[in-house]
Each structure stands twice: as structure tokens, then as C-alpha cells.
């Protein structure tokens, strides 16, 4: 009985501790919710991918074929538009594919001749491209069955936007370099800055003529160097382990350095705000992973809805993944050109540094 009583009191006390240490408890409660967010983002990145639909005529069979397309593959959100707009959006990376039902489709089917449906795919990676390619034959089969058109022939005319295929593992592996850069930078940056307050050293920095900013900057430079080492190690595994050579090595190096720099200074700002090392790791992981999934790491930025696309722009991961995919595979997965991605990363690296001194004096 005495053991049970001890267990009971320990349980009660621990529950009280949870209630009285709200930051830790809140983090523990938010992280499971975060996993739900992660899974949702994981699904959203490959779900309802926007696909341009260009229908050359408004006829019963053309409408039936569109319905068949809608029912054939739930991965696509069909967006009716004209051909010029559709191809422009495809080139800018805002559409996964363009499906064009030609004028004369109805009469061709009625005449039991083979109808040509043109399918232009942004084959940025093999996984996504294959999903799209499978959709048109599936739709054709549904269409034929619904209209009792035995022997109807619809030829998907495949046009790939990119002249080479990129395997899914290779695509993901490259994005993982950006993830490594973001997590390593965020963790190290946050920890080295928060430690200044935990050790009491921040007070000394603040009363020195130099102020806190130079020392905090120095600490962040060191954190950034270690973050770069961690990211380079990840990159070497991708290059030599996954056999994915960088098409543009200098661009890859710049992408790694700037993604680490941006994440390190953001982490540093978080450390200066929280002033405790304990919440840094769960927060960086809790914030970093959803941003990573939303960054085009699994698929490029072609989500259903603008808010996810805009949300992605808040994180260094979006810019880092964009640079890495271009540096390694020559892929353009963001509407912004690579120089612009690098410039934004550089800007993200500098802005928190400028704020750090002010936040430290708070």
C-alpha cells in the first residue's frame, strides 16, 4: 500500500508540475497536433494538384470526357482555362499539367475515329509525372464505359516540359540537404544565443561598450560554420551515396551556405526571444518540418490553393529547396529564378542580425 501511495503522490505531483511549467507542457501538447499538420501537408503536396483543362468545344461528349477526367484521378484539381493561359502557368510552375481536349472531339468520337487528347506534363520528378500520365488513359476507359462506346480510342499525346526524368528518391534527397541546412542552422543558432542568457553572460555583454550584437553575431557565425559542415555531410551522402552529382556545384554551395545562414540567424532571434535552450529543439523541429513539407520538398509548389503556396514563402526551406533542385537536377521548381531565391536567403540571413541587438536589450 505504501508503494501505491508513493506512486499516487508522484503522479499527482508530476501532473501539478506539468500544469505549472506551461511552456514545456504546451510544447508537448502542440507537437502531436504538429504531426497532424505534417501529415496533412504531406497529403496536400500530392493531392488536388492544379491541372489546366483546355476544352476546344462545348459538346455532350466533350463534357462527358471532362467528367470522366474528374472521376479518374482524385489527385487533380481541373481548372478550365484557355490554352495560352494554361501553358503560361505551366511554364511558371503553377500547374502540374495541361490537358487539351481538341475541337472536333465529339464528332471524332461519334465517327469512332481515334481522338487525340494532348497532355503536357511538368515532369519535374518521376513520381508526379507518372501520376499525371496515368490519369488520361484511366479517364478514357471511364468515358468509353459510360457512353457504351466499345473500342473508342483516345490517344494521349504526351509532351514533357523537361527533357530528362528525375527519380523521386533523387528529388527528395536533394531537398533533404536544404532540410539539414535549416534544422542544423536553427538549432545551433537558437542554442548559442539562448545560452548567453542561461549563463548570465548576456548581462555582461549588454553593459560592455561593444554591446551584445558583436558577440551574438560571432556566436552565430560559429554556429553557421558547424551548420554548413552538417549540411555538406548530408550533401556528400546525396552525391556519393545516392549518386546524384550537382549540375551546378557553385550554386549548390551558395544554396547550402545561405540556407544555413538564414536559418542560423532566425534561430538566433528565436533564442534571444526565448532566452532558454530547452524549448529551442522542439520549436525548431516543430516549425521546421511543416515548412519543409510545404517547401516543394516532396512536390514543387503546385498546391491546391494559394495560402499554402504563400505560407511556404515564409521559410528558408522554400528558397533552399528551390536552389538545390536547380543546382543538382537543373529543375526549376519555383516561379522565382535561382538568383532571386539566393538573394532572399541572404536577406533573411541579415534581417534577424539587425534585430538581434534590439531584441537582446529588450
Amino acid at each position: 500500500m505504501s508503494v501505491l501511495r508513493t506512486v499516487g503522490i508522484a503522479t499527482r505531483d508530476q501532473l501539478r508540475s506539468f500544469r505549472r511549467a506551461p511552456v514545456t507542457t504546451l510544447l508537448a501538447m502542440l507537437l502531436p497536433l504538429n504531426l497532424l499538420l505534417l501529415m496533412s501537408l504531406f497529403a496536400l503536396t500530392g493531392y488536388n494538384a492544379p491541372t489546366g483543362l483546355v476544352v476546344g468545344e462545348d459538346t455532350p461528349r466533350a463534357r462527358e470526357f471532362v467528367r470522366a477526367l474528374q472521376d479518374a484521378h482524385n489527385s487533380f484539381a481541373l481548372r478550365p482555362m484557355d490554352a495560352a493561359t494554361a501553358h503560361a502557368l505551366l511554364r511558371r510552375g503553377r500547374l502540374v499539367a495541361v490537358i487539351e481536349v481538341p475541337a472536333g472531339f465529339d464528332s471524332t468520337i461519334a465517327a469512332r475515329r481515334a481522338a487525340e487528347v494532348r497532355l503536357t506534363v511538368d515532369n519535374v520528378n518521376l513520381d508526379m509525372a507518372e501520376d499525371v500520365r496515368r490519369a488520361v488513359p484511366a479517364a478514357a476507359a471511364i468515358f468509353a464505359e459510360r457512353l457504351q462506346l466499345r473500342g473508342v480510342r483516345i490517344h494521349p499525346e504526351l509532351v514533357n516540359v523537361i527533357d530528362h526524368e528525375t527519380g523521386y528518391v533523387e528529388y527528395l534527397g536533394v531537398s533533404a540537404i536544404a532540410l539539414a541546412a535549416m534544422i542544423a542552422g536553427g538549432l545551433l543558432g537558437g542554442t548559442v544565443v539562448a545560452r548567453e542568457w542561461e549563463t548570465g553572460a548576456a548581462r555582461l555583454l549588454l553593459v560592455s561598450p561593444a554591446g551584445a550584437a558583436p558577440v551574438l553575431t560571432g556566436r552565430l557565425v560559429a554556429a553557421g560554420l558547424v551548420g554548413v559542415l552538417a549540411s555538406v555531410a548530408t550533401a556528400l551522402v546525396v552525391v556519393y551515396g545516392y549518386h546524384v552529382p550537382a549540375a551546378h556545384p557553385l550554386e549548390a554551395a551558395a544554396g547550402i551556405v545561405l540556407t544555413v545562414a538564414a536559418s542560423t540567424t532566425l534561430g538566433g532571434l528565436l533564442g534571444a526571444l526565448l532566452r532558454r535552450t530547452l524549448p529551442i529543439t522542439p520549436l525548431v523541429l516543430g516549425i521546421g518540418l511543416p515548412f519543409y513539407l510545404d517547401s516543394g520538398a516532396l512536390e514543387p509548389q503546385r498546391f491546391d490553393g494559394e495560402w499554402l503556396f504563400r505560407f511556404a514563402h515564409l521559410s528558408p526551406a522554400y528558397y533552399g529547396v528551390g536552389v538545390m533542385e536547380h543546382a543538382f537536377h537543373g529543375l526549376t521548381v519555383t516561379p522565382e529564378p535561382v538568383w532571386q531565391l539566393l538573394a532572399v536567403l541572404a536577406l533573411i540571413a541579415v534581417v534577424p542580425l539587425a534585430l538581434l541587438g534590439r531584441v537582446a536589450r529588450r
Binding site: 549563463t199 548576456a202 555583454l205 549588454l206 560592455s208 561598450p209 558583436p214
Partner: protein, 306 residues
Amino acid sequence: MPDTIQLTDIRVAFGSRAALDGLTLAVAAGEIVGLLGPNGAGKTTTIDVCCGLRVPDAGTARVLGADAARSPREIRARIGVVPQDSGLFPELTALEHLELAAALYAMRRPRPRIEEMLRRYGLWDRRGQVVSTFSGGMRRRLALARALLHDPPVLFLDEPTLGVDVQGRRVLWDHVAALRADGRSVLLTTNYLDEATALCDRVAILDHGRLVACERPGELRRDGGVTLVLQCGAAAAAVAAALASRPDVAHAAADDGAAVVRLPDDAACAAVIAAAHAAAPIGSVRVIEPSLEDVFLGLTGRELRE
């Protein structure tokens, strides 16, 4: 001696709670002033105001002639601070800590000064060892060496011997006392009353953010009055009764063959002893001065402040 630290009617509030409530205090050059007070009395806030880390809601804090709130940059190069928790990194060496401090104060060719400070504070032989291997006393000495590296005329020490063993405290006291000889002004906070007695030229007692006393330790004790123990055997009750009615006696009672008489002012001692002799033969007289702790408790009360 001119005042190097001048606090005039300083008021600082944290929400509805007054951390400092009209504090006026001055520290002269070459003077060590101790700030005493229960927890939350406003000791660390006073140091923060002096260093320009906290802008007071009202009043002025001048350090070496400069306004700490308006011109904190002006004073920073000329003050040294030892914070309560030392601000040391366990994985860095003593030498590395002083090198960073030298950089923070833009010292040119700091090596000789670093060596001088490490030797003065008995850390030269351990200069290459990481702080995690240091005792509490060594850490405090390193923090003091770092605060003095740029040779500041004004020093703020926040609980300089907290968590240090007796021997370590005595060594630190010697080092702090030596600062007075160097002509430096020191404002230190402490909860150790023996430390305040041993080190401080004046002791300022804070309570609820107000200055309730500021005098030399001896004067503070004297202000607390004295207690006379008059051995007079069976006549103790009669002597106590005879003295209790005197206006210069606060309290008198018989206790185990002695009349125990408390006087608010030690100047009345001779007259009270003479009156006792007139009432009955007195065997012996013992004069008990209050300790600083008695005075402190008398001024701030016995109520816990945690």
C-alpha cells in the same frame, strides 16, 4: 571624495509593484557600499539602473557624472560588473574568457593585463583549463578578474561570494577590500551580513524598494541600542523595577539573578549603570551590542519575503 555614483529619487515599478520607491544613495570614490535587503527588496534592480540596463520610471542615476539612462554608452567603458550568476561558460578556459572581455572593451595589446589579472587572482596556473573544472571560489575570482580587466573606476558586484566556501569567501573579501585601496568605488549586494560588516564602509538597507538605513556598520549597530546585563542576585527584580521607569531605558526585566536592561542609545549607559548601583550592589556589568543581523531584522522585520 567626490561621489562617483549618485542615485536621486529613483523609482522603478514592475506592474503595480514598486521595485524601487524613491531611492536616493551616493557612493564616493574609494568607497565600498553594501546593499542589503530581503529578497525582492530592489538590490539587483538598483545595479541594473546604475548600469543603464533599466531606465527608471522617475529619478536620475548618475555614474561618473553621466546619466545612466540617457548616456549608457558613456559609462559602460568605465564600469565593471560581476553578475550574480558569474556569466561564465563551463567549456571555455579562464584565458579565453578574459580574451573575449578584452575584445568587448576594445583593449589594445591586452596580453600583459590579462596575465596580471590572472596572476593577481590566483588563476595563472589554471589559465588554460576550462571553467567546469573550477571551484565556486575560482569562478568568482575569474568573474572579478574579468570585471576589472579594463581597469574601471566603478564596480558593481551582485552577490560576489554567493555559493563560495568560507576560505574562498575570505580570499574574495581580501580582493574586494583591495579595490578600496586602488581608489575604486564599489557597490555590492549581499545577503551575508558578516560580509557587509567586513567589507563595507557603509551599508544601505533596502526594504520594499525604500532605503531604510544607510550608515557605517558600527553606527548601524549603535543605532540599534545596547543591552546591559547587571548581575545583582536577589535584588535583580528591584533593580529592574527601579530602572524601568527611566526615560532612557526601553525595557528592563529580571532574569536569573540579573537585571537585563535595553537602552535605545548607548550614550545612556553610564547614567543607567550609576542608577543601578544606587538601587542595589551590582556584581558585574556586561554590555551587549546588537549584531548587524539584529539591526537588519529590526529594520526589515522577521516576515519571510520569498
